[in-house]
Symmetry: C2
Subunit: 373 residues, 2 copies
C-alpha cells in the first residue's frame, strides 16, 4: 500500500451469465437473472422480463468498435479477476472499488424479481460471488461494495452486517429510493440501514443511474454517440439534486459518523451546490429550525465524498470543495472511463496539483474511507 | 447609462388581477386569467382551472412574514412601476430585466387555456401590458421580455417580431418544450423562432421552472421553508441538463449569432458542465460527426449566458466560465432574491474581483446583450 499510486473509487464487476443460475437454489432459477438472445444480441432477463438494454452495452474498455453483442466477445478482464488485475497493472491502477453492472448501479435491477425470497437469494448470491469469488484473487486490490434488499430497511441493515463479514467495504444504495416505489430517502424507515453502515464504518454509495426520475427527454434524432454523451451530462448532473436533498435531509445530523459518496458525478459542481444550499439555508432562515444544526456545507465537508476523472478545473477548486472529500475513479470498463489511457488522464487532470494533494486524492482519501490495506 | 452600477438580468412583473380581464376581448374573459378566492387566499384561474399555487406565493420582497394571501397585501412596488423604480433606487439597482410571474417563468401557464384564439389574445395582452404600461414609466430602466405562443414555431416567430417593435428586448422560452407536450427543443420545428430571435438580436431566455420534468420528489416531511430551500437547489441545478442539451443540439452551430441565457441558475456549475460536455464529446468521438463543428465549450463561450447573485466562488471561476458570459441578477421580488440587501450581497459576491471585471458583469455584459441605452 505504501507504494500505491492510483486507487479508483468506482469500477464495475461484469456479472457472468451464469452468476445467479449457478448460485441460487434450483427453485429460483426461473426468475433469477439469466442471459437470453434477441435478434443476435444477448440481453439479461430478470424476473422473467427481458431487458431492452443489451446485456454488454457498457462493456467497452479496450474497444473502439462499439459494445460486444455476446458474452463471447466480452474482454475476459471484465469478468476474470486475474485478467482484470493485468489490465489494472498495464494501466497503472492499484485498486478498484467494485460496483455491480447488470444488477443495476444501485442494485435496483433485482427489484424486477417479484418473489421476495428469490430476490433475497439473488442479492446474497451477488454479494457472495463478488466477495468470495471475483475479489478473492486479490482482496487488497479488488474491493467489493455490497448490494442490499432495497425494499426493507431492517433487512438491508442485516445484509450490511453479513456483507461486512465477507469483506465488503461499502454499501450500494439509491439516491432516490422514492423513485423506485420505496419510502423517501429521508424517511426514518432507513434508519436501521444508516445505523448498520455507521457501525460497520461502511460508506454508502449513491451511484448515478441508481434509480429515480428519467429527467430531460433525450432527443430522438441524436445519434447513438450523441445520445450517450448527452445522457452522461444529464445523469452525472442529476446527482447534484440528490446530494442537495441529502444535505437538507437531517440524516447527516442524526448519523454524524455516517459517510456518503456521490459516485460517478464528478466534483466541479460542489462549490456551486454548497454556495446555493447555504444561501437558501440563510434565505429560508433554517438556522432557527430543529433539523439542521449546521449550514449544509459543513455537513458536506464532514460526511460527503465525490469522485473525479475528467476534470482539471474541478481539481483547481479542491480547497473550496474540501481536499479530504475528493476521490478519484476510472470507471472501468464503462464508456466515460479512462482505460487504457488512465495515466495520461491523471497527468492532465492533476497538472499543477502539488504532490501531497495529489496523493491525498489518489491514495489516502480512499484508503481511509474504505479501510483499505 | 454611463453611471449605471447594477443591471439585473432577472426580475419579475407581478401581473395585477385585472391585467387580462381588462385587455382581452370580452368573449375571452371566461377563460382568460382571473383571480379567485379559495379558503381566504387568492389563486389564479387559467382557462377555467384554479391553480393550486397561491396567487402571490413568490411575492416576498420586503416581507419577513411569509407571502401575501391577497392582492391587497402585495407591496405596491410589485405591480406599480413608479413604486418599483423607488424600490430599485433604494436598493441601488439601475435596471431590471422583466420576466412574467403568474403567466409562468416560460410563459407556459397560459397553455392551460384550451381555446387557441383566446390563448393568443392573452399572450398579446401580456406583452402589450408589460411594454406599453408597466415599462412605459421608464423604458431605459425597465426592460421587458416577451412571451410567445409556445405551441407554434411560426406564430412564435411572428410574435417575436411584433414584440420587438413594442420595445421587448428578449424572448421567454422553455428549456424543455417537450416537457410541455410540444416538439423537442432541438427539433427544426423551432427554426423560425431561432431565426426571428437572431434577426432581431433578442436573446432567448431559458428561465428555471419554465416547464419540464419535476425531478427528485420533495420529501413530505420537509417544513415549507425547507421544501422551498430544497426546491431551489433542485430547480436551479436542473438547468445544467438543459444547457448540456443545448450545447449538443446543433442549434448553436446552425444559428451562430443567436444568444441563449440560462436564467436564475447561478454560474458555479459552468466549469463542471464544460469539462464534462467536452470530455463526452471526445469520448464519443463527436468531432467526426456532422452536427458539431466545435467542442461544446466553444459554443458556450460564443453564445450562452448565465447569471449570478449568491455566489462568491462562482465569480472566482469567471475566467474559466468566460467573463463575457456572466450576468448578474437580483430576482426581485422572489424568495431567493437580494432585495433590500442587494448592495451587501454584491459586495460579498464580488469581493476581490477587480473593478473592470465587476463592471463588465454588472453593467457592460447585460447592456450589450439586451441592447440597452
Amino acid at each position: 500500500m505504501a507504494a500505491w499510486q492510483l486507487v479508483s473509487a468506482d469500477d464495475h464487476v461484469i456479472e457472468p451469465p451464469d452468476l445467479w443460475q449457478r448460485r441460487v437454489p434450483k427453485k429460483f432459477c426461473d426468475v433469477a437473472p439469466k442471459v437470453v438472445i434477441r435478434d443476435g444480441e444477448e440481453h439479461w432477463e430478470f424476473g422473467g422480463q427481458v431487458r431492452a438494454y443489451p446485456a454488454w452495452y457498457g462493456c467497452v474498455a479496450g474497444r473502439s468498435d462499439g459494445y460486444p453483442k455476446t458474452f463471447a466477445e466480452v474482454r475476459p478482464a471484465l469478468y476474470d479477476s486475474q485478467e482484470r488485475l493485468r489490465d489494472m497493472d498495464a494501466d497503472g491502477v492499484d485498486v478498484q472499488v467494485l460496483f455491480p453492472n447488470a444488477a443495476g448501479l444501485g442494485g435496483q435491477a433485482l427489484l424486477a424479481i417479484k418473489d421476495l425470497e428469490a430476490r433475497w437469494a439473488c442479492i446474497r448470491a451477488y454479494n457472495d460471488y463478488v466477495a468470495r469469488e471475483f475479489c478473492a484473487a486479490n482482496p487488497q486490490r479488488l474491493v467489493p461494495q455490497c448490494i442490499i434488499p432495497l425494499w426493507d430497511g431492517q433487512a438491508a441493515a442485516r445484509e450490511v452486517l453479513r456483507a461486512a463479514t465477507l469483506g465488503h467495504r461499502g454499501v450500494v444504495f439509491s439516491g432516490q429510493p422514492q423513485g423506485l416505489g420505496l419510502p423517501h430517502f429521508n424517511d426514518a424507515y432507513w434508519d436501521p440501514l444508516w445505523d448498520a453502515a455507521q457501525d460497520t464504518g461502511m460508506p454508502v454509495n449513491l451511484h448515478i443511474g441508481s434509480g429515480g426520475h428519467p429527467g430531460l427527454e433525450v432527443w430522438h434524432d441524436y445519434t447513438a454517440a450523441e445520445a450517450l454523451a448527452f445522457v452522461s451530462v444529464k445523469n452525472l448532473s442529476s446527482n447534484i439534486a440528490v446530494i442537495g436533498n441529502l444535505l437538507y435531509s437531517g440524516v447527516l445530523e442524526r448519523f454524524p459518523q455516517l459517510k456518503f459518496i456521490s459516485v460517478e458525478s464528478g466534483i466541479g459542481w460542489v462549490p456551486y451546490l454548497l454556495e446555493l444550499a447555504d444561501h437558501q439555508y440563510r434565505q429560508q432562515r433554517l438556522q432557527g429550525e430543529g433539523r439542521l444544526k449546521l449550514p449544509p456545507s459543513q455537513y458536506f465537508r464532514r460526511q460527503v465524498f465525490v469522485s473525479t476523472w475528467f476534470e482539471h478545473f474541478g481539481l483547481e477548486a479542491r480547497d473550496f470543495i474540501g481536499l479530504g472529500n475528493i476521490l478519484w475513479e476510472c470507471d472501468y470498463p464503462h464508456p466515460t472511463g479512462t482505460f487504457p489511457n488512465t495515466r495520461r488522464f491523471v497527468e492532465r487532470s492533476f497538472a499543477g496539483v502539488p504532490e501531497d494533494a495529489r496523493h491525498k486524492v489518489l491514495v489516502e482519501n480512499p484508503t481511509a474511507l474504505f479501510h483499505l490495506a
